[in-house]
Amino acid sequence: MEHKPVIRWNPMTDSKESTRSDSFEQDAFWVRMILREMDPAQREECFRSLMVKYWRLVGVMVAQRLGNDRRDAEDVTQEAFFRAFRSLKQLSEPTAFLGWLLKIARNLATDHLRTKRRTVSLDALGESSAQLQGALQSRRSPEFEKAIELNEETTLVMRALAELPECYREVVTLKYMQGLDGREMARPLNEPEGTIRNRLFRALDKLRRSLDKQKACKS
């Protein structure tokens, strides 16, 4: 199988290691500037910088959780940034801003999903639970289907990714969206390096198994 060279949209994936660790120092700098309660214009500039930097990453994480519904993902992402900034004083380690933001986004996405499920079940009281389950399982916005042309391999990988437990999906997303390795992820996620590396290994193992199973089912 031939693999085409891939154009990376995220310059972070190509940057040097030092630049990546500087990136968390930069986050910490912005967080400290915000907390220092200086000039409101400067503080807003720091908010803006952090949002621009992590908007897409948080959006993708939330979209994965919400079944790739873009509008919902944007709403939840916006709310996650708002809540993170509002309670920034509670963040004990400024370099761990990213992990903290992702945790808030994850909780919000879970709440959103729960609310949505409740709404669906009330709206469709007449439908059988099997139909409902099916509707929820296959919930994927038509916008998403239209926006991307999925080739077979990508479809399989996305399905395998969706089946991954949250903690594994998170490290894989950070690896591919931010270009971080196990050691670098330990800092923003505020977890031991060994734990992160274990998650990466298990994620890879699960992905391989899941892809094997899907391919076997197809053939």
Partner: protein, 144 residues
């Protein structure tokens, strides 16, 4: 190669490949195993083992394929989400401005301040009423 010799080698190579995937930039093992064989600093024996063991070569190729597919998937997802929407960013900043530290401070002090003002008003009114009553009483007594 006997199974006694291959087993430890295979497990070492497997863990090397896993580490490569976890640590490296994600194209280091993508596609095929050839970059691995020519990679500088490759641990001794890994390259030879990969070229002689079809099983490990298969694993390397599989990890490479998964790696490339993951790259494509995340690029697709990143493209789907699109660049940050400036409207949403500005809306969040406006909400933050409304919930800013000065506004929070004002909200926090407003209630006690209001209570203090009303309390003073009532106290002064009471004192004034008392003074008026005393004056009126004294005037009434003097008139009698």
């Amino acid at each position: 190669m006997s199974s006694k010799q291959t087993r430890p080698d295979c497990s070492r190579v497997e863990s090397f490949l896993d580490n490569c995937w976890a640590d490296g930039p994600h194209s280091s093992i993508a596609g095929n195993h050839d970059p691995l064989l020519n990679a500088p600093g490759l641990p001794p024996g890994i390259g030879e083992h990969l070229s002689s063991c079809p099983r490990c070569r298969g694993i390397a190729e599989e990890i490479g394929r998964v790696d490339v597919s993951l790259q494509n998937s995340f690029e697709t997802l990143g493209g789907f989400m699109g660049p940050p929407c400036m409207g949403s960013i500005e809306a969040t900043i406006v909400r933050l401005r409304e919930a800013g530290p000065d506004v929070t401070l004002i909200r926090k002090v407003r209630r006690p301040l209001r209570m203090l003002l009303w309390g003073s008003f009532y106290a002064f009114s009471l004192i004034a009423c008392c003074a008026l009553a005393i004056t009126a009483y004294k005037a009434f007594v003097a008139a009698r």
